[in-house]
Point group: C2
């Protein structure tokens, strides 16, 4: 590797490198020194572009949020809501660190507003009153956040053989007398954990609740 302490450094390059490291090793193992090493610069070089680690976190989150596709026009509003929620979930699954970035840092930046704008615009156009639109938006967003977070967690569990073994043993050691429902439904729980179908199940519950309310 040749030395590259030229003018090649930029905020954008740092964000892209940070994102790569987060996705490769998980957001927990991410470090400023790791980014600096990857870019073959000293750790302090990054401080020219970002005030501190949290500032870099914000920039990465903002970059990820900008990847969200726009709302499909010209379709009924329930389909629009479904599309927004699905693409938000997909973005989180493709970039698992996004969940941690959303849950651990204050909000800021126009990209976050852009996400809210899409869903709120759809709901307002569908005739939702201001308060109902706001409440519905928050409900949908938190459902997507929670289910994606849980899905990522479970996928990580399945990937780690040791963790997966411990979970299987833990479930199989449960007494059927003390935990009848868990023991009976263990196969169903394993089969229905994660996946598009599970996500749509909850999303459809929310949408049918909404449609019952607007009718």
């Amino acid at each position: 590797m040749a030395r590259t302490p030229r003018n090649t450094l930029s905020a954008d390059l740092i964000v892209r490198t940070a994102l790569e490291l987060m996705e490769a090793k998980g957001a927990g193992a991410f470090s400023l020194r790791g980014v600096a090493a990857e870019l073959e610069v000293g750790p302090m070089a990054l401080y020219t572009y970002f005030r501190n680690k949290d500032d870099l976190y914000d920039a990465v989150r903002n970059h990820l949020m900008s990847l969200l596709p726009p709302v499909p026009p010209e379709v009924p509003w329930p389909d629009q809501v479904r599309a927004v929620c699905r693409s938000l979930r997909l973005l989180m699954l493709q970039h698992p660190c996004l969940v941690q970035l959303l849950g651990g840092r204050p909000l800021s930046g126009h990209e976050t507003a852009r996400v809210a704008e899409g869903l709120l615009g759809v709901l307002r156009a569908a005739g939702f009153a201001p308060e109902a639109a706001a409440r519905t938006h928050t409900t949908l967003f938190t459902y997507v956040l929670g289910s994606a977070s849980w899905e990522i967690q479970m996928a990580a569990e399945r990937r780690d053989p040791e963790a997966w073994r411990r979970l299987r043993v833990s479930i199989e050691s449960l007494s059927a007398r003390e935990f009848p429902a868990v023991v009976e439904l263990a196969p169903e729980l394993a089969r229905t954990t994660g996946g598009d179908e599970q996500f749509d199940y909850g999303l459809d519950l929310l949408l049918s609740g909404l449609q019952a309310r607007t009718a």
Copy 2:
């Protein structure tokens, strides 16, 4: 402070001390060395009771899960579901670190099964088929997880004056042409973010969807 390197140390004492520190400073600032200092022992004393930091995290999560109250009997099943979800949310709000512990660590332990048992038992008794019970359980759990996580985040934001100021500025600087819905609904969003009412709004949407399906 007198020295206490006697036989006063125990797994239970360490868990309680760790929990105190997590709640005081946030789960992010928590460290093994901090717990050891609080207990006035060397950092290595903890390794007699826990294999590593993650092992202690699991113990704390298990302890918190054991605090969940039992399901109220002798009421209609929608009220039972509501009660379980509300008390789970309340537990998360009272112990914000629980959300991070659930989202960042593999599952294990009987306490986690106990939580699932309550909700699954209610749904099975209400006549839900195995797959529907499993899917509904996951949907409800992820909704509680996501909304509590978001609520904790927002509460932290409001507590930190600097973060709160940045958020206000960020919202006020949005152009009404680019973000019409966000600008219009900003007061509604602020007013409806968090709180029992917002949580129940989404929970009722899910429940009315469920009741429409079982009828």
